[in-house]
């Protein structure tokens, strides 16, 4: 077991909240969270639905290991059809909210329709009701959490909500919980906003108790915790430096996309790195980094808690930002920094705080600003249009554009549509550094061939978290592969994609995979849920989930042509570093990838593949 066995179905149009039993056949076949939520979503909506219409649905889903002693078992996923991409959107978050929902006795919450007025959902164990959100509509994530804890008279309530960006339907708006953990990508927050749904407040006191074999489960989770503790990445690197441990490493490799992917190395990387965060500042002698923080049940504790320089121009007159808060993580530091050529660590932290406060994805935002700066330098966009001088490297422009975007003002409204739409509007569609409309994260697809293929084939658009081949191609986990080689990469990408789908669906964090592989996950699932969860079975489920997502995208109108990378990465060679001279060979790897996937030449799962996977 380990599933709560119950889902909440909320019809926002009708204002109704109903409990229904979890489909246990689906639960066993898709595990939970990403897999199971996607099974529900794709079974219930038309793939061609307008993502921001009342006909789209949005699901908050936990996994069977969420809320248990499994290390990192606090994750939840928000699943919907994404407005940024038009593809399946599935964003994962940590913090404490997911475990709280599970401890309240729910596996997932499905929202359908659209509320006639702003509402929030309040769940207190078995009881759940929609409540008026007039008092919090227009408020930030931070204000919303504070307000709900106060009015519900329960400081232990956990909140998953949107800020102004989600209300304004910024196409990369995030859903944020516990102040600075986010289901960040693909604009899931905009879908929430489009439904007039402001927040889900949860208090769960019942706990997770129906573990299949409690003693065996405790033994399995303790053994796996030890592995995380003793591994150099999860036991040392991530707790000490956070994901920012990568900044200097990736720059060295020549894979740090810089100035909208014009360059692959950033001369200012060291100024925005983990090492910089741990060095006392010249201004006040204090370190940027205050401490690390874990999410629920996590043994790694990679989270960064930092304190901004109070004298910095961005916050001099804004004491509300002076306290310790989340950031910077590697992807945000890269997207706000290297992608725009900005090496001002404090400015990056300020913008990161805005991203958390009002709920936007720093990757898509930062990458879109990178595009704007390039268009500005090309003379396509002017100061008058943008509202500020916006050359690469301008911290002032970055901070100004962040304020405009989260508040839905001026040129910020255009940035809020993402780089693909903005680039097309101003006549340079090739300059959007994205796949399926979603901006790339912090690794260059020229320097590292596998990750390029992973971006091109990611079901939710450009993303490192669908198949983090960097582990193999840079860090040598589980085995080292040559970053510039294409041989073997289709197989590598597939293996990472399928395994990740299984980890995401279990309710644990993908960062465990630096130390764990499927033989570490399967026994925990078996002890918690069902003896049938062997390594082979869990791997097959991962592949099943990947193909299910793919079929949804195919039905939504995506084709082979969408499994690619922008012209820049295929034709403009990397200028420096270890990858100098490299371009992405994604189009050459694609047929082989389709073949190892068991798809036809157009990227559609064949009948044999569908049958093998039970689709």
């Amino acid at each position: 077991m380990s599933w709560a066995g119950k889902i909440l179905r909320v019809n926002l149009t009708e204002g109704t909240v109903k409990s229904e039993p979890l489909n246990m056949d689906w639960a066993r076949a898709y595990i939970g969270s990403r897999g199971l939520g996607t099974k529900y979503l794709t079974s219930e909506i038309d793939p061609k639905v307008d993502p921001l219409s009342a006909d789209n649905k949005i699901i908050w889903a936990t996994g069977p290991l969420t809320g248990t002693m499994a290390s990192t078992g606090g994750r939840y996923t928000v699943i919907t059809k994404g407005p940024l991409t038009g593809a399946i959107a599935c964003s994962n978050s940590g913090g404490y909210w997911g475990a709280e929902l599970k401890m309240a006795g729910w596996d997932m919450v499905i929202f359908e329709g659209k509320s006639p007025k702003p509402v929030y959902l309040y769940i207190n164990d078995d009881t759940a009701e929609l409540r008026d959100a007039a008092d919090i509509w227009g408020k930030s994530v931070w204000e919303t959490e504070e307000h709900l804890k106060k009015t519900l008279q329960d400081p232990l309530t956990r909140v998953s909500s949107i800020g102004k960006a989600g209300e304004n339907q910024v196409l990369f708006a995030a859903v944020v919980n516990d102040l600075h953990r986010a289901a960040g990508r693909s604009g899931v927050g905009a879908v929430m906003g489009s439904k007039n749904l402001k927040a889900i407040a949860v208090r769960g006191t019942k706990g997770v108790g129906n573990i299949r074999d409690p003693k065996a489960f405790m033994a399995e989770t303790f053994a796996r915790k030890k592995i995380l503790h003793e591994h150099p990445v999860t036991g040392q690197g991530l707790p000490t430096f956070g994901t920012q441990v990568l900044m200097n490493v990736i720059n060295e490799v020549g894979a740090l996309p810089t100035r909208n992917h014009r360059d692959v190395q950033f001369e200012g990387a060291k100024d925005i790195s983990a090492e910089a965060m741990a060095t006392p500042r010249k201004t006040d002698g204090k370190k940027h980094l205050v401490t690390n923080q874990a999410c629920f049940g996590c043994t790694i504790a990679c989270g960064r808690i930092s304190k901004i320089d109070e004298t910095h121009f961005t916050v001099q007159t804004k004491p509300q930002y002076w306290g310790a808060s989340g950031g910077l993580e590697y992807e945000a530091a890269w997207a706000l920094g290297a992608a725009n050529g900005v090496n001002d660590l404090e400015a990056l932290q300020y913008v990161n705080l805005l991203c958390n406060e009002e709920g936007i994805d720093p990757i898509s935002f930062g990458a879109t600003v990178g595009l704007v700066m390039e268009l500005y330098e090309m003379g396509v966009l002017t100061k008058e249009q943008i509202g500020v001088e916006a050359p690469f490297g301008s911290a002032q422009a970055l901070a100004f554009l962040a304020e405009e975007t989260v508040n839905g003002r001026g040129f910020g409204k255009e940035i809020g549509t993402g780089s693909k739409r903005l680039a097309a509007k101003y006549g340079h569609p090739d300059l959007s550094m994205s796949s399926k409309g979603q901006e790339f994260p912090a690794y260059d697809g020229r320097a590292i061939q596998g990750i390029g293929l992973a971006y091109a084939t990611s079901n939710r658009g450009g993303c490192h978290l669908r198949g983090y081949t960097i582990a193999s191609e840079v860090l040598g986990i589980p085995v080292k592969t040559e970053p510039t080689a294409t041989e073997g990469k289709p197989e590598l990408v597939k293996a990472f994609q399928d395994a990740t789908a299984a980890f995401d669906s279990a309710g644990v964090c993908v960062f465990t995979t630096f130390a764990w592989s499927l033989p570490d996950l399967a026994p925990q699932l078996a002890a918690a849920c069902d003896e049938g969860y062997t390594v082979e079975e869990v791997e097959k489920i991962g592949e099943r989930i990947w193909n299910m997502e793919r079929e949804f995208n195919n039905a939504a109108g995506f084709t082979k042509a969408d499994d690619s990378l922008p012209k820049r990465l295929k034709t403009e060679a990397a200028k420096s570093g270890g990858s100098k001279g490299a371009v992405s060979h994604v189009d050459e790897m694609l047929p082989k990838y389709y073949e190892v996937r068991g798809w036809d030449a157009e990227g559609r799962p064949t009948a044999a593949t569908r049958e093998r996977l039970g689709l």
């Binding site: 002693m69 404490y96 475990a99 706990g207 997770v208 707790p239 874990a294 049940g297 304190k307 310790a324």
Partner: protein, 161 residues
């Protein structure tokens, strides 16, 4: 040797594994809401602080209880609530200066940390803590580590000669 829970908040990451272990040990479920040890997240400073009963020698809760439901476990020195005797009057919750004994509406009794006195491996929270922020050590020498650090700083340096 009497042992006590010793908390070093600087090592706490806020993962709540102690709370899960506590609720699992006492109720057989993972439910942070039922835990007798609580981790407080002081957001603006970044500090996470686990807090629970320190097992006072002259325990206010024990003295205040009108039905003698709270007794001392001889092995561990833990102050134990007898569910069979507790009448749920909550006087102990008023008497305790630290707030570490609390009423549980579902059972009609109070609960507090009992150092997992009947658990062979010792307190479950200690075993679950991944950073040794919570340890179970000699009650008379909780300062030993800190003394060692200072002794190292003051006396364990290369001498000038």
């Amino acid at each position: 040797m009497q042992k006590v829970l010793h908390i070093n908040a600087d090592k706490c990451t806020g993962c709540l594994q102690c709370e899960m272990a506590c609720s699992y040990e006492h109720y057989g479920v993972y439910a942070t809401a039922k835990s007798r040890i609580k981790v407080f997240d002081f957001h603006t400073t970044g500090k996470k602080v686990p807090y629970t009963c320190t097992q006072c020698d002259e325990a206010w809760c024990l003295h205040a209880c009108p039905v003698e439901a709270i007794t001392v476990d001889k092995g561990t020195g833990a102050k134990i609530v007898s569910d069979a005797t507790c009448v749920g009057c909550k006087v102990c919750t008023i008497a305790c200066p630290f707030g570490t004994i609390n009423y549980v509406a579902e059972t009609g009794k109070v609960q507090k940390c009992d150092l997992c006195h009947d658990r062979a491996e010792g307190p479950a929270c200690v075993e679950a803590c991944p950073t040794a922020a919570i340890t179970y050590i000699d009650a008379n020498w909780t300062g030993l580590d800190r003394m060692r650090q200072w002794a190292d700083k003051l006396g364990n340096q290369p001498s000038a000669a």
